[in-house]
């Protein structure tokens, strides 16, 4: 694996340690989807650790259909100007020019996201070529390792975005965690076949068998709508939570956002989660994933 690092007298930028390091600092936090500068401000005030700038939240992408692309640079600039916390933005899978544009705009993290329409059904972006770090979605360990091999500095389990149904998020984080646990139980001569079955590089597979964890931070996403949902993800072993449509498609976004932040920090304290869950008003209406025809499932984009 190579790394596009830049040496200057002031130091080295774009190294894996620097890219992965920002995700380390986001741990225990909530990253919130926002579509306007006002929403970004509400998110920051509620305790978001970062915001994801996009034109439409996944629930609207789902409802309105059509091709979903990178956001307008003016919208991203407006959100960057409104907040001091890190700003992330989404590029289409394989669309390395959208990623180049986002890097030029000075966002802090790029999400190569299945929520947008893929631009390449074969290749993901070669993320080692960028100074800016990337987060990528994964439904299982093999997918996570392929993304890390391409240079992803952070992984989020995909869930099913824009549904408010947490069941796919649960499935994906459980799958990744249990596949990691299974690797640690294997003897060293079994890891070659494990790498073949996971369709992932042997070196990464051996590293995970030895350490019992991914070499990058693992957040979870896709369907988190309540404080209890966020705490569920944390108890299942996520390092933090992305909340997309769940906040600004609900009755009282500011209060719900703050409540999800509290429940993420005190994920193991049911009294705090109970208090945070009171009086939040209406949650997003949601769609049961089981009712979605397979072609409309975003998690199946990416491979």
């Amino acid at each position: 694996m190579s790394d596009t690092t830049t040496e200057t007298t002031a130091g080295t930028t774009g190294s894996s340690r620097v890219k992965r390091g920002l995700a380390e600092m986001l741990k225990g936090g909530v990253i919130m989807d926002v579509v306007t500068a006002d929403q970004a401000k509400i998110a920051e005030d509620a305790g978001a650790v970062a915001v994801m700038a996009l034109e439409r939240v996944p629930a609207d992408i789902r409802a309105q259909g059509g091709v979903a692309r990178m956001s307008d640079p003016d919208l991203i600039d407006g959100i960057r100007a409104a907040v001091s916390i890190p700003v992330m933005a989404k590029a289409r899978i394989g669309h390395f020019v959208e990623a180049q544009v986002l890097e030029a705009l000075g966002v802090d993290y790029i999400d190569e996201s299945e929520v947008l329409s893929p631009a390449d059904y074969v290749n993901h972006i070669d993320k080692w070529k960028f100074t800016i770090p990337f987060v990528c979605g994964a439904t299982n360990l093999g997918e996570a390792l392929r993304r890390i091999n391409e240079g992803a500095a952070m992984i989020r389990s995909k869930g099913e975005a824009g549904t408010g149904d947490v069941s796919e998020a649960t499935k994906h984080i459980r799958t990744i965690k249990s596949e990691i646990a299974a690797l640690t139980a294997k003897s060293s001569d079994e890891l070659y076949v494990a790498a073949k079955e996971l369709q992932a590089p042997y070196e990464l597979v051996a590293e995970i068998a030895a350490t019992g964890k991914l070499p990058v931070v693992l957040f979870t996403a896709g369907g988190v709508a309540t404080p209890a949902d966020a705490a569920l993800m944390m108890q299942l072993g996520a390092d933090g939570v992305f909340v997309g449509s769940g906040i600004f498609k609900s009755g009282n976004p500011a209060q719900r956002a703050a409540a999800i932040v509290k429940a993420t920090t005190f994920f193991d304290d049911a009294k705090v989660i109970a208090d945070a869950s009171r009086g939040l008003g209406e949650a997003m209406v949601g769609i049961n994933v089981a009712d979605l025809a397979a072609p409309h499932r975003l998690a199946e984009r990416g491979w």
Partner: protein, 196 residues
């Protein structure tokens, strides 16, 4: 040697890394999220994370006032990155309503190097640690823009910007010794906790 554990503020950020380093160095380390947990510790690290979030959660869950009282009593506290911001008396570019615990007579600027693309790692001369230089990772890091008379500067970048300070029982660093594998600054902090 104190028998009280060393706490790491565990509201948000990379507290797990600090806890692992402290344990690797033989110290007893615990996460701190509640006032009663703070009362048990003989020293505290405030980790990297988002200062706006750590500020908000520390006030929401009733930790801010006990933390200020502990700092006033002389508890050894070390802040890294967001933790440095939390210990600063003044922030030059906080968000509206952002508060700090204070204690260090300094002014800090958040995200002083710009967006994530400008985050970097560098070897840093640190006289209190001797040779070799400490490898330091700066992630959307703050810098110290002004220091009061009682503040000792522990490290500066080549352009003279201040990135590590000490005042009384408080330490602050812009960077993250917990993610580099060189734990001499953690040892420096533990020595101060033990001397307390």
């Amino acid at each position: 040697m104190t028998t009280r554990p060393v706490g790491v503020l565990a509201l948000q950020g990379d507290f797990r890394e600090h806890i692992e380093v402290l344990r690797a160095l033989g110290a007893e380390a615990v996460g701190v999220r509640r006032p009663e947990e703070l009362a048990e510790v003989g020293g505290l690290i405030i980790p990297g994370g988002e200062s706006t979030v750590i500020d908000k959660l520390s006030r929401t869950f009733g930790l801010a006032e006990p933390l200020k009282a502990a700092i006033a009593r002389g508890l050894p506290v070390w802040g890294t990155c967001a933790g440095l911001i939390m210990l600063a008396d003044r922030i030059s570019d906080g968000i509206e309503g952002q508060q700090t615990l204070g204690g260090l007579d300094i002014e800090v600027r958040r995200n002083a190097f710009g967006s994530q693309s400008a985050s970097f790692e560098v070897d840093l001369e640190m006289p209190v640690l001797g040779d070799p230089p400490l490898h330091a990772v700066f992630i959307r890091a703050p810098v110290v823009e002004a220091v009061g008379a009682g503040v000792r500067v522990l490290a500066q970048l080549d352009d003279a910007r201040i990135v590590a300070v000490e005042q009384g029982s408080l330490l602050g660093t812009s960077f993250h010794p917990e993610i580099t594998g060189d734990y001499r600054f953690h040892e420096y902090f533990l020595d101060r906790v033990a001397a307390q």
